[in-house]
Assembly symmetry: C2
Homo-oligomer: 540 residues x 2
């Protein structure tokens, strides 16, 4: 076989050759902008020429600081296909983290959406490697600013030839860099190679949920979040119509674009879908969502209630799973043929499973001794992954690399069980597991069991040190107001007796007045552990 | 990204892990045999162990001489995944060609279906490298024979452990070898690497025509023809149910399996589909073909009449295009979204186009000066291809390699035009083109124009030497019986005047009593050229 490298330029090539007249719609600052793949290709060529004109050498990193729009799409192709590397800066990071990631990546050029220029202007004195800032707009869209030698993107492109011969290079060449938003410490850099992105996106064309040329796709997940899950690339490869929601989009914007552009597929996090559902229900008569064939939810577990709510308005929503380290998608919660014949209520339950491993990947579930556990639907193990779009190291971070990668496998840090028929279910994070007497107790499963008690409003379970068992579960329980004083720890324990293994039942139950939450509304187990360490939680 | 090789074992891994209970049906010598992907995996492990037991070293070639059945499927996986190479011998070659290919590939073991043992027994004295013959059956299915030390496949497997650790190796490692059936000279060997097959088959999961786990696939194209177009691998990757039609299948066998096993997709050559259509129409009440969602036709141009005939019985048939050198599929005649909204009659016309280039491939149309021609739907060029599943050389054949490969491109030898909107149409073979005054005339287009004349039954056009124009077309015309003597060469030329370019109109037209055909029913232009050279065709 030819030694023909797997490069991102293949994706653009096919769209330009077979689908030159297919449409791309982008919500620009002054309305909807429309052009075609032929136009995209032409402007990507101009951008590639412009990079050379800006003095950006092949292999050099440049950064985007931008929303989901057509100019960001041009950067997605133009920078990697020209052999440079695009660092998609997460605009939601804290300012000091933004500075850290740009300096760590040594970005030389910064492509910034005009409404984000003020934020960058503030940080500019701290950016040690950036030589040029480019505003992603036309001259008349430029806000007032004090950035020296600011380049206007539309003028930059207009000055360049739209003929460009995309170079050929090794498929392991870096294409995109992203940073994980770590809960502690500095963000960790993740480098996506051409090969990795190519294979991830090719798999995005497969199965019933693969994007096709009949589709109209709208990535809601930001393009600064793990390549917008690859959707812009996959849609381009398919020759699909694409819709970009632009700057500071609201649920109303999403709903209007779905209705107006006849969107068939979209991807985003559960909170976005909740907002869209709320907007749909709030508007008298709702919106016309009849064009949708599949919504893809990821980034956090997809609640069954949300699946059911969308099902009631005739919309199918499915779950994807992955990490920044895995490009990101590794599992899709799409019921197999055998499960699609089930009654609706049962079929929906398969949609909230973490799902089926994508073609090309390998998985293990590993216990605390490093041994594989069986795929029996019961035995928990940490999910380890490997495959062509899983990274093998963090960018310039040998210590963090050594923690997360073992024998060629990536340790996800998620605990899961696997059905004999291939469905994975994430049950917990490694750090939230309770390690008791050489066995694991899932804090999430135990919480769900306790919250099944009719008098319990919320319950969060953490592991606390135990002299004999190493750790034992401590359940922090928020009772419903009317039950306070009436329900005892013993009542809870009795309730659990036929619901979980005997040794899972918490010895310690603390009735609390509030369960602390993280900024995204999850139980903050770190705060609970701190409170316990400080003696501020007492259990019975 | 991980340096994780693209190996065929990934395909089997996923089927065994996610679809262990999915069914494989194989028409064995004594009825339908059924087992699952779990069973397939187990037996592939036994086979891999058996190869070592037979003394077959990694990197060594072994051969199959077999029909489409489950044991052949086991060889498809077991041999390459164990790091050996499977030569799928074409059982339809002439005996001396079979001997040539087996000796050329230096096959050490020959896996033979029991009903084909007599053929091999005849050839065995001429096979210089074969050490062991294995009969692909159980002991009680074995016919009488005189092959020394014949091994029985079922006994070979039964003696082996079903635990096997598939090795990891470079993705450019050979997996399968096939030979093209050349019209002149010896067959040319083509080596498929793990990487090439992997990527070809991954693309087979994409688009509306991609195999999915809801599908029931039956490869009719033989497994000794270019990997059965990859269908056994693609179906396994998808977790689809598979049906294998076994030895010496007839149209009736195909129809009964489609109906009985609820086949959704199948692949074969046009003559097979004609046979199936005839069988369908012959049987009172027909067969139940309602399960079919797509038939794939390849190997020769798909006639519009056949598409229409299948459409009338509610069956969709599509065209694939490719060569042995391209693993094989490179184009699919699947209408784009924009063409699928056309009225049925127009949509069907897009199905008989050669189709759309698959993701990952690159194409050129090159004129006789080696220059690219525009994609304008009119200008002809030779189709050149490159991509990850296009070979870069013939096996141990440097001279034939030098002819077919130029600057990293594979010259298909087919002449085509490409629409501005991406549809390719093959118009001729390079060798059948008429090169007239520095321009090309398509013999096929000219034949079709002449055959549009109501008094013409058949017409074949060849190029004949011309002192000024290098070549000019000679049309050999078979008139309908009632028109003989009534229609003149001048009538034909007048008829063509508003149908083809003036300089295409043949100066010489020969009325013949018969147009010689090849064994597969095509006009034999080689015979016509010989007859012309011998002065046996006279034109006016």
């Amino acid at each position: 076989m030819m030694h023909y490298p797997l490069l991102m330029k293949s994706i653009l090539y096919r769209a330009n050759t077979l689908y030159p007249n297919q449409e791309i719609v982008s919500r620009d600052y002054d309305g909807l902008f429309r052009y075609t793949y032929r136009d995209l290709h032409r402007r990507v060529c101009q951008l590639a020429n412009a990079l050379a004109a800006l003095g950006v050498q092949p292999g050099t990193n440049v950064a985007s600081f931008a929303w989901n729009n057509h100019r960001h799409l041009e950067l997605y192709f133009g920078v990697p296909c020209a052999g440079r590397v695009l660092h998609t800066v997460n605009i939601r990071l804290f300012p000091e983290q933004i500075v850290y990631t740009i300096n760590h990546a040594e970005d030389q050029v910064l492509f910034v959406d005009p409404d984000l220029l003020p934020a960058i202007e503030q940080l500019l004195p701290h950016l040690t490697t950036v030589k040029t800032v480019v505003a992603l707009c036309a001259r008349d869209q430029l806000p007032a600013h004090h950035i020296p030698n600011l380049v206007v993107y539309e003028e930059l492109l207009a000055a360049q030839s739209d003929v460009y011969e995309f170079p050929e290079f090794d498929e392991y060449t870096p294409a995109i860099i992203a940073y994980t938003s770590a809960t502690t410490g500095n963000p960790k850099g993740v480098v996506y190679t051409h090969r990795g992105l190519y294979l991830h996106c090719l798999v995005g064309l497969t199965s019933e949920l693969g994007i096709r040329d009949t589709d109209v796709t709208m990535p809601i997940v930001p393009m600064f979040h793990v390549n917008a899950w690859g959707r812009p690339f996959i849609a381009t490869w398919a020759g699909a119509k694409q819709v970009y929601p632009g700057a500071r989009p609201t649920p109303q914007v999403f709903c209007e674009l779905i209705e107006g552009e006849r969107v068939t597929m979209s991807a985003g996090v559960p909170t976005i879908w909740m907002g869209i559902l709320h907007e749909y229900r709030t508007k008298p008569g709702g919106y016309d969502f009849s064009s949708i064939r599949a919504l893809l939810s990821g980034g956090a577990a997809l609640p069954l209630a949300l699946v059911k709510a969308f099902d009631e308005i005739g919309v199918n929503i499915y779950q994807g799973y992955g990490q920044t380290e895995t490009t990101p998608v590794t599992f899709i919660g799409y019921p197999k043929a055998s499960e699609r014949n089930l009654p609706k209520a049962e079929e929906l339950r398969y949609r909230v499973k973490t799902g089926l491993l994508l073609p090309g990947l390998e998985m293990r579930l590993v216990d605390m001794d490093g041994k594989d556990v069986p795929f029996d639907g019961q035995t928990m193990g940490e999910l380890w992954l490997r495959g062509p779009w899983v990274i093998e190291s963090y960018y310039k971070s040998p210590e963090q690399t050594a923690e997360a990668f073992v024998d060629g496998w990536f340790r996800t840090g998620d605990i899961a069980v696997m059905d004999p028929d291939g469905y994975l279910q994430i049950t917990d994070r490694t750090k939230d597991l309770i390690k008791s007497g050489g066995e694991w107790i899932s804090s999430v499963d135990l919480e769900n069991a306790i919250m099944g008690h009719p008098d319990v409003a919320e319950a969060a379970v953490i592991g606390v040190p135990h002299p004999k068992w190493q750790e034992r579960p401590l359940a922090c329980v928020l009772l419903r107001p009317e039950a306070v004083g009436r329900v005892s720890a013993e009542d809870i324990r009795q309730y659990l007796e036929d619901k979980v293994a005997k040794w899972w039942i918490p010895d310690q139950i603390a009735f609390v007045e509030e369960i602390p939450k993280t900024s995204v509304g999850k139980f903050s187990k770190r705060t609970l552990r701190e409170l316990f360490d400080q003696g501020k939680i007492s259990a019975s």
